[in-house]
Subunit: 338 residues, 4 copies
């Protein structure tokens, strides 16, 4: 049984505490938050969980194997670093750190401490994304041409980050998990419209090896909620709509065929192929439950986390590069290798 | 009665001949095409229209007041230029010319000849776009924050242009017509996947004065057809879905409110306002019929064309700049003023 | 503060206990259920609530003002009747009783006891249905021509009732609340397909005064979930789709106009009027919270319940008549007045 | 080459003339209509087709093999009967005749004359309905439980028939073609709201052998257009939405399983099975083109028409019975066998 201490009981904390509590492999020993009224809520719902306003209590607790960090991103590095010093494993919310430099140090510290560093890229653990992973890594889709996601809605504005760090990070982690290679470079554009100066709209293009291209459209100022991703392959194409109650994934037997023998571009024979559509059944269990179980296996059986510190670092590098590109109106930024 | 000669009876030509024929103000005198079998089709449907495989016949015809050019873009400048020399008015398909340099010369030649130069940016004449124009230039939407369009489907691949020149040109002309100012700069990305080398996917960001931003997502390799544009304003927001049989335009009384008195970004109070949605009735007549009537008025009453040579030139400049930016992976290109 | 005792903690019971607990005007004193494991769940979530496997404890409790009955319908009458004898008010789940005869007796007993008899027709308390009520009873819709509802999905099969008693009851209560008069007669058809003999598909037509007609399509064997109601008026028409996350109600400024002066049916001039569509903002709070508050007001301030015993009786009469008509393949059954 | 004479060039006539003209197996010799302005339209579009205001010319024409009747239903019998007397084959619009009595006589007259009697039940020839036919008569759907269609929109009101004869006839012919047996009885309800007295809303239930049930909801007063049919089988279920531009047919691998060993209804174990959804590619060619070709084959090769006079008669009997039931508020009417 893995015993965790949760730091931060804000927007996402309740989901974490609930899922760790319901897990057969984990239990929550203590929850820390600076706000006493939030802790009162914990005690009402979970009388057996200790609460504290001092994070020292979490690190000092001998019945805490792992620290779960659900605080603003600017605090992630310091809190996770201290956990490793205290010999604890770490589950940290996305984005892993506020800078790539912090991220690199955290990855090193986890390795040095021999502890698990797991980043909560929740979407990777949904039934839909895992089903797409199976499809892509099976034999049906062919070469991947593009990943094109639209993730827009009204709000919620964040005070400390722009829309890229809030919404695009989801697509970055999905691409990181799904696609056959990691992004090589990014060009981003965006704009801030309301007080505070953080961009509320952004468009990110990622370049990969070969002709694979990724695009992410994120927007805090949209009148309708859209969560739709198109993935084009040489053999089949996928539409993934996360708002569909059922049929989240549709696979189209569509594509084009090119007659390579054509003597010139003007004789190029391009054919269109249009076949059946197929919507496979997708597991609908809660992603966090799957992820908590995976985290426990990482600790107890030494499995590598699917969304480990290196994945977390790749995301932070990409977010940092995209923000830099956006400030420079689309100037392409190469992404270093991790 | 304006008598026109149509050059080119390919994909769009039949729509032009039909609409000029049905117009009360125009009639078609002659249709030219190099393919005899296309001309045979004209004669079957319109026994009264002359046909010819020689464009000389069109320019020489004394009963032709205006030349309608529906040929590949690479021929537009030469054909239109010759029309002005022959004293004819010109209706030319979009994009107006293959290069901005040709475009500038054509605008000058039209002015020197004192003839009408009209570019067929059809969407500007649809009931939906004109209704949005009324809304934006009325008082309801507030300051425009963004224009964000997705225009994707499977095919039709073109031999001589990339997807920007084929699909994005529609959004460029709609933005040119709707928005309070013209685009100042563009950053574009894209990729070619199939033989021929022309990009089949492209993402264009346009920068305007102030915080207005435009984005266009065009794709010839999408499994589903999408024609959706979000337009965000400080007071209201619009969703324009051209595939909706009715309710093409929805206006959302939604937005955010910012408490400007907040001492710091962390105390920033952002409120969300969510009210009714309203789908105004939109005129459903054929856009080309409206446009033919407008073209006739330009000739007979000297009205300026809403999509005149200068608009056509702005589009060609933007397409040229976007293609250049795309080859350079998003490098921003300033757009000169016309 | 109204103190309630809840009998039955099955499918709906948890929602009732949660809403009564969260109400500022009510609190839950005791929950009774025959299944100890269900009671254990209550104690885990609500340590302050007493639990019992003996309903006697509920009736005997001096700190219980009202009994909330959420058991199978066959037990409703006996449990409610006993509550009145014990001087308690009653909230009973729909349908109120298993037979109209029981229903009549229960209404009389409530009156004799001077206690509140409230039936949980939840839909009547949703923001959507109340908004439609305002629209119909305001001046915009005109004369109501029809109410046409489709309420289908896969399962959940019930052991003791057919699909009419499970699903159609919702529409009966909505019609009872919304329409200007009560139904006069019913013709129903339906069919049973799977073991057990209860009809899983049914079609009900209700006849009202004048030309108002109501139709309800309910089905436990549908591959997709549909919850859509069309309401046609002489001036406007409403589409109410309960599955829409927003825009649950759409009002169409559409209709027909008839030229009454036409000399004969063959000269009848029928015109079609097609105008804007409007989707008003609908309150999205939980209906049960509104209903609990209303129930408290009925007890403390003597307000009549909007869904009182007489409404409950009308529903049971209609369900009984519809089932009878269905067994007789559509034979019309007159509905007595209550 | 089959040469046809078309009587009636109103709403549907132009589609018939166009499809017979474009057919490789048929040609239109003459078109008759009482309205000279309609005939002028024919001559403009088809200079080679003769026109006449006298139907005598059609019957007398030696170059007419078949008469195509597209006039109001009240005239169908007389016009078709005369065609048989003149030795012509007959294509008649739906419904075949105004009464079942006329229908019986027409079937007999066709047989006596040895001529083809084909009724234009167009939907039977669509790619979607034929694909469903293949699915049902293949092995995938299992026993058919129900056919449930909603076919509603605003208008067009007809002067001489009610909404059953106008809209429900489509579903009757689809059921007649698709289902394993013919309907045995009907119960219908409906209402007239606007001048003229013909019902504008109707609900029809058809009873078949076994537990198969059919339901049709037709409405001329609906604010939205719906063309959706659910077909439930013991193994799979179909949703057919004719307004979907693609994916008109969706097949759901869903259903219920019943544990027949259960000792009593209360222990009945009902399980829900939910699997993939599949949307097969459907032929999108024009149904009339397929039907014209079939009609030609009936004449030249003696093939039986899929929608022959007996099918047409079954439809008229069902329409007559449904209208009678509707006047009697749902009284069930047995359908005689043809």
């Amino acid at each position: 049984m893995i015993r965790v201490g949760v730091i931060g009981y804000g927007y996402w904390g309740p989901n974490l505490v609930r899922n760790f509590s319901e897990s057969a492999e984990c239990e929550v020993a203590v929850v820390a938050d600076l706000r006493e009224e939030r802790l009162a809520q914990v005690r009402r719902r979970y009388p057996a969980i200790r609460t504290t306003t001092s994070i020292d209590d979490v690190y000092a607790a001998t019945d805490v194997d792992a620290v779960v960090i659900a605080t603003p991103v600017s605090t992630h590095y310091a809190l996770a670093s201290r956990a490793f010093k205290a010999g604890k494993h770490v589950w940290v919310e996305k984005p892993m750190t506020a800078t790539a430099d912090e991220g690199r140090r955290l990855v090193d510290e986890a390795a040095a401490a021999g502890r698990v560093l797991h980043v909560d890229h929740t979407f990777v653990y949904t039934g839909a994304v895992r089903k797409i992973h199976d499809l892509i890594h099976g034999d049906g889709i062919g070469d991947i041409y593009y990943y094109d996601s639209t993730r827009v809605n009204l709000g919620l504005f964040q005070h400390d980050v722009n829309v890229i760090w809030d919404l695009a990070v989801h697509d970055l982690s999905i691409m990181d998990y799904l696609l056959p290679s990691y992004a090589r470079a990014v060009s981003a554009t965006g704009m801030a419209h309301v007080g505070g100066g953080h961009e509320d709209i952004a468009y990110l293009t990622f370049f990969f090896d070969g002709s694979l291209i990724g695009h992410v459209n994120v927007n805090w100022l949209a009148p309708v909620k859209i969560r739709r991703t198109l993935i084009g392959g040489s053999r089949k194409m996928i539409v993934y709509d996360d708002l569909e109650p059922s049929e989240k994934i549709k696979i189209y037997d569509k594509g084009i065929t090119v007659n390579a023998d054509a003597a010139s571009v003007y004789q190029l024979k391009i054919g269109y192929r249009s076949g059946d559509m197929w919507a496979p059944q997708v597991e609908i269990g809660e992603a966090l439950q799957v992820e908590v179980s995976h985290f426990a296996a990482c600790i107890t059986r030494g499995e590598p986390s699917v969304t480990d510190g290196r994945a977390g670092l790749r995301m932070v590098q990409a977010l940092e590069a995209a923000s830099m590109s956006m400030r420079d109106r689309g100037r392409v930024i190469e992404l270093g290798s991790v």
